[in-house]
Subunit: 329 residues, 2 copies
Amino acid sequence: MTQRPGEFALIADYFAPLAGEGTFGLKDDAATFSVEPGHQLVITQDASAENIHFLDDDPADLVARKALRVNLSDLAAKGARAKCFSVALGLGEDWTEEWIRQFAQGLREDIDQYDIALTGGDTFKTGGGMVISITAIGEIPRDSYVARIGASPGDQLFVTGTIGDGALGLLARRDDLSGISMQDRKYLVDRYQLPQPRLEFAGTLRKIATSAMDVSDGLLGDLVKLCDASGVSAELVLSKVPFSSAVKTALEHESNLLETAVTGGDDYEILFTVSPENIGQLMKLANEARIAVTCIGEITSGEGISVFDRHGEKVEFPSLGYDHSGARN
Amino acid sequence: MTQRPGEFALIADYFAPLAGEGTFGLKDDAATFSVEPGHQLVITQDASAENIHFLDDDPADLVARKALRVNLSDLAAKGARAKCFSVALGLGEDWTEEWIRQFAQGLREDIDQYDIALTGGDTFKTGGGMVISITAIGEIPRDSYVARIGASPGDQLFVTGTIGDGALGLLARRDDLSGISMQDRKYLVDRYQLPQPRLEFAGTLRKIATSAMDVSDGLLGDLVKLCDASGVSAELVLSKVPFSSAVKTALEHESNLLETAVTGGDDYEILFTVSPENIGQLMKLANEARIAVTCIGEITSGEGISVFDRHGEKVEFPSLGYDHSGARN
């Protein structure tokens, strides 16, 4: 059996070098951080488990970055600036030091990319597979939190980026997607393995969104949640939903993947509502932030959501979104 | 197979009723909280795993409370007031709704007892045993964080409460402890299953401690860590270490349990240092807070620690503390 280092050695060798200010090199019981005057904090915690949220042969650096980014995506959707995070890493039976090294390297890349501090955490044995529990903290000017509650009838419904890349990327990753080029396959798998939290859009959301959430469990199911929280309904036009060229190609080849694209998870785009008089300003700000935004429907009064095709015919989906008890907020 | 509820139903039924202000009934992506002017935050994250940190037949309410309290103990040791926490609950293969109900009930009791808010979290499947990852946040007046770094030669070494109850409580829980009464057994098992974080001592620590940490991985091993962090050494007198009458009885029956008592984990008392001129004030404040504190040695210059028996003879312990890669900060 290979000799494997203990917890303190792992922390000292791989995690302490990542730690930010106020963390005492991860040698203390806790860490401390301050808040800008006039600001408040936003907290979110999403866990990732082996063979539920990631595959056991996914590269460890990408596992780490995705585990962090799904939390950053929540902060972005609330209009927050990402500030710091802590990570509890549950080691499965088969863990190796090389996996940890790559995992820490992945965190390092995103710490640098997002200018976010690691405050500390914990390593422990799970007795099963790997588990990663990350808590991320963001900061927003006081009273500018963008909640799911707040959409009103008449508000226009928008989404950032493109939808369905993550769900089809998972299919591609499992070699369950045919009719696409190697390049499209790579694009989709990248989108599945390394989501792009829309932090650069947080400021625009604070200024202009009446409600927002990140799309993590499928566009339609998440829209139902937004409507439930706001006490409204929505009409969504399927032909307006923005798809990447890779998804369009896959849909041309296999049209019933449309349901997967709009109900599958792992988009990490932002679904938000804007009152009609602010749409001009939205377009200006989105353009400045270089984020594509697309109007996909409208908020109405009532309950639930209605989905229409390009001919105005109502489309029914047997299952709106999924709940693998690993569903993400 | 029994029908088990999905994630959203679990959250709505059991966790949403526990949620505090700024959490939108756990229906949002995140939660928000504010910080008192002139204060900063303290963050800690410790996970608990089935059959590593708790036994699969431990009552779920006590599992929940201990998982929370080990984090509150970290906050207490840093001089912080407990403010809020989030919990990622990893469901093992065999989870039942009744276990979740009891788990949530345990959290409810401690939310009330410690006046702390649940901000949110996540439930997910682990594919193995249960995993609980809690992140707790506390608040302290600016620049009053009590670090492990700060002990100086000449400082007196103190500990709150009694030592060894947790380690012997685990033995008692496993029926591996003989020669004690049922009442002592119950006391020790309680101390193992339901630690008492010393939050009421946090204010005293802020005023008077030159360094502090909570004792979670064994008194001697944790003292080594405190000394390493502060760049000092310590002389500890074993006969001064405070033991409960239950531990004393067990030691009379089986003297080699002394090593277990001073190197075993799960004390959740506070180890701290005080400069000699402040000892009078310490005793006054500890008395007001109704916390027993005991001087167990002195900080010296050098490295590592020296342990002496009542006759001044040096005692060697083969292993100072333990590292189950579930060791706690």
